[in-house]
Symmetry: D2
Subunit: 255 residues, 4 copies
């Protein structure tokens, strides 16, 4: 077996930086542009940053947990890294593309691997109109916010907002409100992954709303489009005994 | 256009029987074996019976609502039936196969289009062990019951038990507990449609449990297997302006 | 301090029986009729049985956990029992009185400390009419079942059925459906503790329903009345550092 | 019967202003300081403003619905107003006192009749520590927000955030998170009405949080205390056939 060229990246926290030193000492370091694989050292937040950073590069990412949560990460282990990379299983994710039009009429684009969310900026509740495939599905949703999540993101913000977890590979998106005032018992909707979701912000001066694609925030949006982009792929590597599909199923049976 | 040979079937209720008479007067009647299409007159319950009755026959079914609920049904209209059948859209459903082993060791098979459910028979809570693809996912679920629903069935019993609605074509099954005592906050799990679910009944003498596939009930079961059978197809016909996929999405946005 | 006369009672399980022997050796044993205090050794189920057994006697009960769950119980500890009993805090519970009329017209009475529940007996959903203080509140609830719980019982069956936990002393009852089919999003209702709840069973031949007051079950009921009886009191004793009120609040903040 | 001196107040909307003119023509108008009763014309929002405006005055308020929602309001009717006021039933509410310490160390006070809520100001989730009666109940709640609602407010923001409805007179408060990330399944807690709730904002520079008492908002808070103030009373008047207690019970049985 020829050894893979690994580029290690690490979060700022001490545990991640220590691991970075030890792994470079053991396996060397190459620049990301020359790497066969990126190894991300940190928590889920840093892993999400790493995925965004390399989203245009056709290089797989193997995360090891040196931080909190660890949902997208393998357990930390310094030993036999090349062998583990060789037998790792690949999961391919596709991001959402958010197109947000702000109140000044300009349009902004950003990618989201987990979710696109809208949120009220002030104490005034947001008033939103939801279209799916150009058809109005909710003429007026009064709420704290709203999100569109991918299966990979369904265990993140979506879960906190009482939305269901989606298995990886389920070809679905989930649309979940945050504190729906009216219709007040509306919970969430599962949509085919090809659905084009548009959210129109009503009374946007009185009720300013921000839109966030993972980390990228735009304030004072007037309209937001969300659609999955299958032309972009992110390949993650997982140890076979504990892969992402398995984790998402396991997560659903947690006590 | 050559007219399709229609076999009308109707529920016992007066509205359904009246419709039967009027439609036969207008369009004639053939025996189910000679029919190009079955037209079912009644509510959702009778439609489910009709689907089971013709599940082995390769004939599409068009339901018209002469009863309650009407989720799987088209609106009632006597006019232009052949034209409406000609432009109807087809949705293909696949049933679940339930294999229930009763406490005397015999094995029983039944098909379910909506869901397979287990339920305690006495005031003693059920104690169940759940395996998915032969892996134990819940070692001990104490509950009133449990169900495995298809997307078509996700708006039925599953919804009442607080499970999520699945879009038609989502290639998923949903596993939902009824009154989970322990783990007490367990809600439900979405599974790939190929999942093989096994439910083992623990302490079955003290805690007798029945299993139901749509209508077919077996008392005192020891173990139940549930798996989708894609070799069996049920073709339903829907008016294009109001098809099943559309209804299931619309259902999720109901106030 | 004169020592209290203690009557120890124990569940059949080995851990409870062993504790019984050791505690009698240390502190002696008196007949329940002569006791100043009953000490119950077992789990929550046995504690509930003990409470029912002595419900007509004006004697406090101190439970020690030799079984499962332990919500109504103190931690097990053989030392300094008289001192602990002396400084224990008293919580007074009042039971519900269930009056169930069965389909043959006879009326049955039973007490419930946790909850009165109704449940379908067959695969046919129950169809229930709910009156509160003689006013119809739900004309037709189609469901697996329904329960009325006290604050002490709100952490038991009610919680499994997705009902809220009520603090001890909150002067409320909670009415919670099990798998509400219609109205399908109905969750639960909090009622003043003086509320008189009546549940009428509709279509009782087609849809047989049983009623249970804690353990006491009546099959084929036609109508069930539930009302709190403040003329009956059950005094429980708790170590001050971990009393029932504290536990019920703590329970609500469990992760 | 001597006629009561009525002071009419009205929202800006046309329907409210028209009603104002007609009612003054029929029954006259006095200054609020001279009034025996305030009649508020508008929706629930204006009623809440009216209650705050007269919270220091010992004068009952009768609301008539000329706006949206109408939960705290009587049906609009111009006829026989003095008679209706004479036979109206009184409901007494007590507000919450919020004491918010902002990051500059100053302390602000405001009253809330419905709820005190905290909410993240940026895309960073809030990190909160919750104390009840000085005891830490949740060491770290990561969430979009959190609210403490009175029974009267339990049908407002609390309900949208999936909290339970509390009957008027239930002597409880409810503490409900908005999108709890961690502990991720935490739903809400019912507390005795005498509970003193303190919310400490952790990492307040990175994670700014605002606090709102009904309408009054303070940005960048470091710590918020919430306690019911029974020394302040607000008397609302309701037509007996449709009083607030009845409405809150009825609301819980809505389909």
């Amino acid at each position: 077996m020829s050894l893979p060229k690994i580029s290690f990246v690490a979060a700022e926290q001490e545990a991640a930086q220590e691991a970075l030193g030890q792994l470079i000492a053991l396996y060397g370091q190459v620049a990301p542009d020359d790497a066969d694989v990126i190894v991300s050292l940190g928590g889920d937040g840093f892993m999400l940053e790493t995925m965004h950073r390399f989203i245009d590069r056709d290089v797989p990412i193997y995360g090891m947990n040196r931080g909190t949560v660890g949902f997208l990460l393998n357990n930390y282990n310094e030993d036999h890294l090349p062998e583990r990379l060789a037998r790792a299983q690949k999961v391919t994710l596709h991001p959402l593309v958010m197109t947000a039009e702000t109140s000044d009429g300009t349009r902004h684009h950003a990618l989201a691997i987990n979710e696109v969310s809208l949120h009220r900026e002030s104490r005034q509740a947001a008033k939103l109109r939801i279209r799916v495939d150009k058809k109005i599905r909710l003429d007026e949703l009064i709420c704290d916010g709203l999100l569109v999540a991918t299966p990979a993101g369904s265990t993140a913000y979506n879960l906190s907002a009482h939305g269901p977890i989606l298995p990886i590979g389920s070809d679905l998106l989930v649309l979940t409100p945050v504190s729906a005032f009216r219709p007040r018992r509306w919970r969430s909707a599962l949509l085919p992954h090809k659905a084009v979701v548009n959210v129109e912000v009503l009374e946007q001066k009185k009720r300013p709303v921000s839109a966030v694609a993972d980390f990228t925030e735009f304030r004072d949006v007037a309209s937001v489009d969300v659609v999955e982009d299958r032309s972009i792929s992110i390949d993650l590597l997982f140890d076979p005994e504990h892969n992402l599909e398995e984790r998402i199923i396991a997560e659903q049976f947690l006590p």
